[in-house]
Amino acid sequence: MRSFLLDALRKGKATIAPPSPGADALEEVARALGERARQKLGRSLAIREVDAGSCNGCELEIHAVNNPVYDVERFGLKFVASPRHADVLLVTGPVTWNMREALLRTYNAVPEPKWVVALGDCATNCGVFAGSPAIVGPLADILPVDLHVPGCPPAPLEIVKALLALMETQA
């Protein structure tokens, strides 16, 4: 165990410098939030992730934003276990019919004010799964979406930039 600590001291910090919020994301969030942007949550957001039909690629990259390189917790962004503790619902995947009810129930369990982020191409436009009869549709057909993060899957840095934009705009 000491070796890990010594190694960390020797090599220095793995965490990268904070990126600036994504310009596209800032614009979309500002448009979506409007007056709601004045509401006070402090500089902290609790995020509940829901896989509504993803291939698990997006989940891999969401995991990555929590690793020491991207370390989103330093920005006040924290992934929480219960939707009742969440400010943001972060949804991946094209919404499947089999997950639709669980997604709606999770959304309803998040207290107001709340924001919905569609992460990845599938949540945005169903991606390669568009047209399948097992799919309800893109997330915006089911829930009010405040921010889209494109990519298949979006790289961790893009996810961080988008989440920072969400926080900047409503702080």
Partner: protein, 497 residues
């Protein structure tokens, strides 16, 4: 209705296999049942079961004589004798095939729906699902999911516990069913390749490779030698990223965050190198029919060699720290036990099988290029617990590094992709078995006369691992479920299709 067990070796006899290594046979109901009995008797392994145009198909293999076959049975008005009635590992496969294609297995021991949750438009199926009855004094149930506490895929776990001890786990899956097979039916090759690379994003290279090999076999399409080496390099990078990450994640579930942090850093290192070398962190769409879509520069080779050294250092250090922590091993040793017999019965692939004595690896037993000319060891353990699965993965990291070193050394300049042969017959069938990080992925394709895909079937290793997780948790405490689950790390999306 019992039939005498028939061994695949006796049926196949001296028939020649197709270029993809599979002998294809149409059989009658009697032979079908006898082959199912043969699975139960341990003569051969059940590899896949799927419906294709009113027929049922079975992929069977017997690794010791090295035989693989795809047998098909014409159904009678959509009815056929259930394989699961004789060999239980086929149960979920038959329930899924019935839900998706309407073919009725006669004698199916469990007739509840599986992927059909009663939500699909235009279907008159029941949304209510009856879990198996549990009776006994002092028992209580804990329903978990489909939305879980962590950042993971959705599925439902119904625990029945006596105090802290789990007496039964029943899984209910299918939440992320996206209808991928229906999307691929009638698709062009390129479109289907993009879909198959997203059946389970964590195994995108393995799926894309399995699909490419199946298509190439069907169309007599030969990828250039350099492409085969690059596919191997990508597949080993994918394996390394998951192995090192999951070792850390298992330790995280036992609250040892330092190992986890170190492992996630190492995983990030692998993905960053993959991105620098091939232009995508997960290497999605990099393996394509005919070859690969991204070449490796000499700088890229240098990056991978540097990564290999760092990975070896991390592996050695993680192993040393893991070995020095009795409180961590207290959580992993004897936890989540899977017997060798169960692993054999279910033909469990990957580290789940290899940690329970099943010495099978598609890279060895049905070796495909470039692994047919690579020297590496098959790492097998017998203990069958969380510790054994973790140790097999640490062992395999070392083997993957050996493989990478050989593949990089054999790279010579050349083309990375060949064109689809114009003279090829377009009515072919092809199948392939590729070793993904979690186990063997099977893909079978059949082409229409117009060159489109008529049918694509993909079977994830998880199909034969999920049921073993139900067995592994029995008698363990509820708090050890995350450890057990992580030590399996089955795919939901790969299973739900």
């Amino acid at each position: 209705m019992s039939a005498v067990a028939l061994a695949l070796a006796d049926l196949v006899d001296d028939r020649t296999a197709s270029p993809d290594g599979y002998v294809r046979l149409a059989v009658g109901a009697d032979t079908w049942m006898a082959l199912a009995e043969g699975c139960a008797a341990g003569h051969h392994d059940l590899g896949a079961l799927w419906a294709d145009d009113g027929r049922m198909c079975l992929a069977l293999s017997a690794p010791s004589p090295g035989i693989r076959a795809i047998v098909s049975l014409e159904t009678e008005g959509g009815r056929y004798p259930s394989v699961a009635a004789r060999h239980l590992p086929a149960l979920r496969l038959e329930r899924a095939a019935r839900d998706l294609y309407g073919l009725q297995p006669i004698g199916l021991p469990d007739t509840r729906p599986w992927l059909d949750h009663g939500r699909w438009p235009g279907r008159q199926s029941e949304a209510r699902y009856e879990f198996l009855p549990v009776e006994g004094e002092g028992l209580h149930q804990i329903p978990v999911g489909p939305v879980h506490a962590g950042i993971i895929e959705p599925g439902h776990f119904r625990f029945t516990a006596n105090g802290e001890t789990v007496v039964r786990l029943e899984q209910r899956l299918g939440y992320v069913h996206k209808g991928v097979e229906s999307l691929m039916a009638g698709a062009e090759i390129g479109q289907a390749a993009r879909i198959i690379g997203r059946i389970s994003g964590d195994s995108t290279v393995a799926y894309a490779w399995a699909f490419a090999r199946a298509v190439e076999a069907a169309l007599q399409w030969a990828p250039p030698p350099r492409a085969l080496l690059l596919r191997g390099i990508m597949a080993e990078l994918e394996r390394l990223a998951h192995h090192i990450n999951d070792v850390g994640a298992i330790c995280n579930d036992a609250s040892v965050l330092t190992i986890y942090a170190r492992c996630t850093l190492q995983r990030e290192d692998v993905l960053a190198v993959a991105n620098a070398c091939f232009g995508h962190r997960l290497m999605m769409d990099c393996v394509v029919p005919g070859g690969v879509a991204a070449d490796l520069t000499p700088e890229g080779v240098g990056r991978i060699r540097g990564l290999m050294q760092r990975l070896e250092d991390t592996r050695a250090e993680v192993l040393r720290v893991y070995d020095s922590m009795p409180s961590l091993q207290d959580r992993t040793v004897t936890t989540g036990f899977v017997s060798c017999e169960l692993a054999r019965q279910y033909a469990a692939g990957g580290f789940v099988g290899r940690a329970s004595g099943r010495a099978f690896d598609a890279r060895k037993d049905f070796a495909y290029a470039p692994y047919d000319r690579v020297d590496f060891d098959l790492k097998v353990r017998q203990a069958g617990d969380v510790d054994a699965r973790l140790m097999v993965r640490l062992d395999e990291i070392a083997e993957s590094l050996r493989i990478l070193s050989q593949l990089l050394g054999r790279l010579t300049p050349g083309a990375i992709r060949s064109d689809r042969p114009v003279t090829a017959t377009v009515t072919g069938e092809g199948a392939a078995l590729i070793e993904a990080f979690r186990g063997d992925v099977f893909v079978s394709v059949r082409f229409e006369a117009d060159g489109r895909l008529a049918r694509v079937h993909a079977r994830d290793a998880s199909w034969f691992q999920w049921p073993l997780l139900e067995a592994a948790i029995e008698g363990n405490i509820v708090a050890d479920f995350p450890l057990c689950n992580k030590s399996f790390n089955c795919s939901y999306s790969g299973h739900d299709l």
